[in-house]
Symmetry: C2
Subunit: 175 residues, 2 copies
């Protein structure tokens, strides 16, 4: 079955955006870019919550579209035709992903974090977590992991250390 | 100058104790034990907050004493002679550590976390952060890093991946 992968860049203290919502603390390098290119080739679907999606549009940019990749935005308030490059889903994310992952296709990328990832984790719908830990304490901002009702055991399958201080770790969710 | 090292075992989602305050999710292995033995040989002082210290005593155990290592407990409420194996300090932790690190000696280990580590981080009194990331999401509990007023840039100086799923990362605090 295709995997649901939650992949994100985060600070050491577990934030995915700083207090002022900036992302300028996220380091990039050739290895990271290459790893992301491989990742994009393995997926055909991006799912994203409204709170991750809206700031991108508000910044005046359009949602990045990748050839062969479909983006679903979960929102009860966005107009269905607000942005031609995405599909707005007003239905329940958990039920939608439950169905989606039974269909044939490449892996599914859960982008951003917080509430959507939390709902999917709680429903045992995340198969893999990839953290890209940046060498900084942000002190506050958008939390990577909201609280969960139950703990989740993980299996570390990869850990890489990059020249510029990043550490990437890949975990499988144990069931 | 001697270093002030904040070293802790934490979950992937940034907790140092689970909701029920258990620590049974912390993995041990020969490599980790060897690394801790080396660490203990490099320090001569442990500083610990009341909230980390009290549960140990409440469990009926005595505070572990290590040869040549002095433990300071910061508390305004504990009696000075409550436990012969520690020294209770009612004075301000920041001022105390500021003085302590100018004195000759081996490194200083900030144990536990949360409030004490936060106050010391905010006062630029932590030189090194060592995380021992366990392969689990606890979903809640005692937070590793409380919120900070300002961000703190880190330099990753070591990253090790262990057989049992742990990842240990060592960061220097940039000033």
């Amino acid at each position: 079955m295709r995997k649901v992968v939650f992949s994100v860049a985060n600070s050491v203290d577990g934030y995915i955006a700083s207090k002022d919502r900036s992302l300028d603390w996220i380091l990039s390098d050739a290895e990271g870019t290459a790893a992301m290119a491989t990742f994009w080739s393995e997926i055909d679907t991006v799912i994203v919550g409204r709170k991750t999606y809206e700031p991108v549009l508000a910044s005046g940019k359009s949602w990045p579209s990748y050839p062969g990749v479909k983006t679903y935005v979960f929102s009860h308030t966005l107009a269905a035709d607000a942005d031609k490059s995405v599909t707005v889903i007003a239905a329940d994310a958990v039920e939608f992903i439950k169905q989606l992952r039974t269909e044939a296709g490449k892996d599914i990328f859960v982008m951003g974090g917080g509430e959507l990832a939390n709902a999917l984790l709680a429903a045992s719908l995340i198969d893999e977590i990839r953290l890209n830990i940046q060498p900084v304490l942000l002190g506050g901002g958008v939390a990577l992991f909201p609280t969960l009702e139950r703990g989740v055991a993980l299996e570390r399958v990869e850990c890489r250390s990059y020249q510029n201080g990043r550490v990437s770790v890949r975990y499988l969710v144990k069931r």
